[in-house]
């Protein structure tokens, strides 16, 4: 019998007239299940069904049936289901309850009244499973984001659940943090446990998936072949996208699976001549609270140039953005900026929305900047005209993300600073962001963005700067910085070292190459 079985299930949140899940048929067994789909499509709702947070915590109405580990979800409280289902949420900071690592892991077993003599063993076992045995006595506050998320996973594992569910667990993590977490999920699944992971970025999960569940508009489709599923994903990984474009069969899920691609080196996009200098940091030392996290930073960016900051969390990317925004003073050195408005998109920008309507949000920024452009210009560009009169917090997740972009980046700022803009974004919202960046760049806005998203860096960046270990190092254009075996290489960059780093880049070359050359595999 399946570990979890969902039968003709439909669910409405309280007061909603459209169901969040509609007619769901699904079986979960051991191994890795990947849940994909656009923002607001129902992924989180489906995951919360497995431990009964839907409907018991969130309320609402449920029709049909869901059985997890032999328990009927509709009539079993979450605290009972918690014995069988471990849950990891998106934000590592908002799920830690205790001050010390060992206590945090013990919290679940304590609540389930696991005998006290067994608790230390449970804690050690769970911490070992996530590679954190050595951090047992540490304070949670002193851990990195990646460590905190692995701690959350250990805490979920400590009740020895039969099913482990993770809701976008890597969206807040840096490259190393998310790689390690994904590797642990794959190991757990390989060890025979049932693991369900929802994510937007699937490049490392897809190859290990035993089944892929696509959730869109509350409807669920299950694929037992990740390759077949990949073709139907709303925003597939780059290598899948390329494979689909070039008609490769079987469809590759990793760069290693792709056929060799011989593209002539060189050529490519001519480097654009940089505009007049938009900003510069001269011998700058900077850090919060008087303590330098970066020293001797010498960087500059032109008008219309997109500089991408990459590197580990805590390395100083946000600090550099805040320095450029003028929110932080340098401890030494000089910050130069072309006069004009600075637009700053913080992490989680949707919290900034506070006006009665989306149009008001945009007008708020434009009026204070003295920019005569009507709000409708950016609303139309981001596809928000229809909801211009709506309350921002009533919008869907994707619309709200676009509303935040509109609120912060209207008009023609001299300098635009974006802190992890694609965090939690689906394909559609990413496309809107890219279009907006192209527009700003055309208007001569100097752009600096911090991201872990190598694809975004490849698609929009002119230059990549690595920030971390106390220094900022210019890695050059994406074609150099994101290619081959470079630290932040994209899938396409790994596929054709020295060549293009984006799907579009390959397709352009492909179209330009002679047919004989294309065949030369």
């Amino acid at each position: 019998m399946a570990l979890a079985r969902v039968d003709r299930l439909t669910y409405w949140y309280p007061g909603a007239d459209r169901p969040a899940l509609a007619g769901v048929e699904l079986e979960i067994e051991a191994g890795l299940t990947v849940v994909a789909g656009p923002s607001g499509g129902g992924k989180s709702t489906l995951l919360r069904l497995f431990n009964g947070l839907v409907p018991h915590f969130h309320g609402g109405r449920l029709a049909g049936r869901a059985v997890v580990a032999g328990l009927d979800v509709a009539s079993t409280p979450t605290r009972r289901l918690a014995r069988e289902v471990g849950f990891v949420f998106q934000d590592p900071e908002l799920q830690t309850v205790r001050g010390l690592v060992a206590q945090e892991v013990a919290f679940g077993p304590e609540n389930l009244a696991v005998p006290e003599r067994d608790l230390p063993g449970r804690v050690d076992e769970a911490l070992e499973a996530v590679g954190m045995g050595a951090l047992r006595e540490r304070r949670v506050r002193t851990l990195s984001g990646g460590e905190r998320q692995r701690l959350a996973l250990a805490a979920a594992l400590a009740v020895r659940p039969r099913l482990v569910v993770l809701d976008e667990p890597t969206s807040q993590l840096d490259r190393d943090g998310s790689r390690r977490l994904v590797a642990i999920c794959r190991d757990l699944a390989r060890g025979g446990r049932a693991v369900v992971v929802a994510e937007h970025r699937l490049e490392s999960l897809l190859p290990a998936a035993r089944r892929v569940v696509l959730v869109e508009g509350g409807r669920v489709t299950v694929h037992h072949d990740p390759r077949a599923a990949a073709a139907g994903l709303p925003s597939p990984p780059a290598i899948v996208r390329l494979g689909l474009q070039l008609g490769w069969s079987p469809l590759p899920l990793t760069p290693e699976e792709a056929p060799p691609l011989r593209l002539r080196a060189g050529g490519g996009e001519p480097s654009r001549s940089p505009g007049p200098e938009g900003w510069a940091l001269r011998e700058v030392s900077v850090g919060p609270a008087g303590r330098a996290v970066l020293e001797g930073v010498d960087l500059a960016g032109g008008a219309g140039e997109v500089v991408v900051l990459m590197g580990p969390n805590g390395g100083g990317k946000s600090t550099l953005l805040r320095l450029l925004a003028g929110a932080l003073r340098p401890l030494a050195g000089r910050v130069e900026r072309r006069p004009g408005r600075v637009a700053y998109l913080p992490q989680n920008p949707t919290v900034l929305l506070h006006r009665p309507t989306v149009r008001d949000e945009v007008r708020f920024t434009l009026e204070r900047a003295g920019d005569p452009e009507p709000p409708e210009v950016i609303l139309e560009r981001l596809g928000l005209l229809e909801v211009a009169g709506s309350y921002p917090r009533d919008l869907s997740t994707g619309q709200r993300q676009r509303a935040a972009l509109a609120a912060v980046l209207p008009g023609s700022p001299a300098l635009a600073l974006l802190d992890e803009p694609t965090r939690g974004m689906d394909g559609e919202a990413r496309a809107a962001l890219r279009a907006l960046l192209a527009e700003l760049r055309g208007r001569g806005t100097a752009i600096v963005l911090a991201t872990h998203d190598a694809d975004l860096a490849a698609e929009v960046g002119d230059r990549v700067v690595r920030v971390g270990e106390g220094v900022a190092r210019d890695l050059g254009p994406p074609a150099l910085a994101l290619s081959g075996d470079a630290e932040f290489a994209t899938q396409i960059g790994q596929l054709c070292p020295g060549g293009p780093v984006t799907v579009e880049g390959v397709l352009q070359r492909w179209a330009a190459a002679a047919p004989a050359e294309r065949a030369g595999g």
Binding site: R80, L94, V97, F107, V114, E137, A156, A327, T365
Partner: protein, 278 residues
């Protein structure tokens, strides 16, 4: 578990300082508390707290001076018909106020290490088992406090860059609405996470922390000994009470209770600059 040691020390300071009217002993406890706080967190972090304690003591003294108007040694007299502030200002009232101020300053510094040296959850864990369930909920909620402060700063910064300025109460909506709404969302998320981990299932067990280390035992022992010694001396009439009214007199100081007060300075050695390594 260091929390129990910190709580024991704080309690000892409070018991002694509140069980005597004698400003000499109160002053000794204050000195011990200052030593421990400064050693524990370093002068830089302790400075604002020391300023607050001094301000508290001084303002208590001034308040008593302008409101008491009793005592033999008149420093200055304002006409009696002046409302509230009229009447004689006496040295006795000033000294009595100062003595009360020292008590308040000591109480402030005595509880300071609880927040300076400990995590909220450590404090909760040091509470008796019966409070564990409520305590876990409180500790989890307290975990949100730092993120609330950070969210406030971040929102102010981001809205400023959108051209927002803090002019007038209405303008604060741009900050308060986002901060409050995201705090609500955060607490819902936290509640969900606790629910998913079976919080509130019924009787719960507890992971035993490592026992008290020898340094902690030393602190607990010293705190207990200080209280016992002081209260015994007081019961035997060794601790002279003090009252400045109507005539000012110097407080008397006996060696045994004085030693008890000074024993409270002991943690300044085991707790030295803990904050920098935490």
């Amino acid at each position: 578990m260091r929390a129990r040691a910190v709580l024991a020390w704080s309690a000892a300071c409070l018991v002694i300082v509140l069980s005597t009217t004698n400003p000499a002993y109160r002053g000794l406890v204050l000195a011990a508390a200052v030593a421990v706080v400064v050693a524990g967190v370093g002068l830089t972090r302790a400075r604002p707290l020391l300023v607050a304690a001094a301000t508290l003591a001084a303002s208590t003294a001034v308040l008593n001076l302008v409101s008491a108007h009793v005592g033999a040694d008149v420093l200055v007299a304002l006409p009696a018909w002046l409302p509230a502030i009229g009447g004689p200002y006496t040295a006795e009232a000033l000294v009595y106020g100062l003595s009360a101020g020292i008590t308040l300053a000591t109480a402030l510094l005595a509880v300071a290490p609880i927040s300076l040296l400990l995590e909220p959850s450590e404090v909760v864990d040091a509470l008796p088992g019966a409070l564990a369930r409520t305590g876990a909920a409180v500790a989890a909620a307290l975990n949100l406090v730092p993120s609330l402060a950070a969210s406030f700063t971040a929102v102010v910064e981001a809205q400023r860059l959108r051209g927002w300025r803090p002019r007038g109460p209405a303008a604060w909506a741009a900050v308060v609405v986002p901060v409050v709404l995201s705090a609500i969302e955060d607490s819902i998320q936290l509640a969900e996470a606790m629910e998913a981990r079976a919080f509130g299932s019924g009787p719960r067990t507890r992971l035993r922390g490592p026992g008290l280390g020898w340094e902690d035992r030393l602190v607990v022992g010293a705190a207990a000994a200080a209280v016992a010694l002081f209260l015994a001396a007081r019961a035997l009439g060794e601790v002279a009470e003090w009252d400045p009214y109507p005539f000012l007199s110097p407080p008397s100081l006996a060696p045994v209770p004085a030693v008890a007060c000074l024993a409270l300075a002991l943690p300044s050695w085991p707790w030295r600059s803990r904050a920098s390594t935490a």
